[in-house]
């Protein structure tokens, strides 16, 4: 069963056509690929997430989905700073450090959509004052936003 109905898929496709400013690669990490994991809720969530991302990536030629197994590709996980699954690294012209942990369903599907569009743009949608402040940060900033799908 498709995650997106025809109407939603058309809406998302149109937004990608209009607003994607550059190619975006979705680096997705599952606990494993194939029959190597024990069945369970985590594996089901990861598989459902993979299906959502597969549908989304098919809606624009500027999107590429790479599916990684945490179990067999630990070096890839390390490269993107991923320690938990399911995890998605959204990579635009550069890696801006944007990650999504968990399944982007419900209201969080809109979050996924906005994240994809944001990382496709070279400039963040922030004021000059904000950018000036962020440019003068002394330390690394790690922002974690906790959400729920409803």
């Amino acid at each position: 069963m498709a995650f997106l109905n025809d109407q939603d898929a058309a809406f998302v496709r149109k937004r990608f056509e209009d607003e994607l400013a550059s190619d975006v690669t979705l680096e997705f990490f599952t606990p494993s690929i194939g029959g190597l994991t024990l069945p369970g809720q985590d594996a089901e969530i990861a598989e459902y997430t993979r299906k959502i991302l597969t549908e989304v990536a098919a809606l624009s030629p500027r999107l590429t989905l790479n599916v990684h197994s945490m179990a067999t590709e630990p070096e890839a996980a390390q490269r993107f700073g991923i320690a938990r699954t399911p995890a998605l690294a959204l990579i635009g012209a550069a890696d801006y450090g944007v990650r999504f942990y968990g399944m982007p369903a419900g209201y969080e599907f809109a979050t996924l959509l906005e994240l994809i569009l944001d990382v496709s743009k070279a400039q963040p949608p922030l004021s000059e004052t904000t950018k000036a402040t962020l440019g003068r940060l002394k330390d690394e900033a790690h922002i974690q936003v906790f959400v729920t799908p409803t």
Partner: protein, 61 residues
């Protein structure tokens, strides 16, 4: 800078660690946190509080 969106219900250990009882909850560098949407200026104020800011110079990168 790193920015993570985390589905709280799927990562209960993280939700417990950061005492997530309402969403959206934002945690910056372990010590700084707040709940709910904030205007951009307020949000960046929290980021500045968490990471520290060098004195203003005429030329920023």
């Amino acid at each position: 800078m790193r920015a993570d969106v985390v589905e709280a219900s799927e990562f209960p250990d993280l939700a417990e660690h950061y005492a997530v009882y309402a969403v959206p909850k934002i945690v910056i560098n372990e010590a700084t946190e707040f709940v709910g949407a904030q205007p951009e200026a307020a949000f960046v104020g929290y980021v500045a509080q968490a990471a520290g800011v060098q004195e203003a110079s005429p030329t920023s990168e």
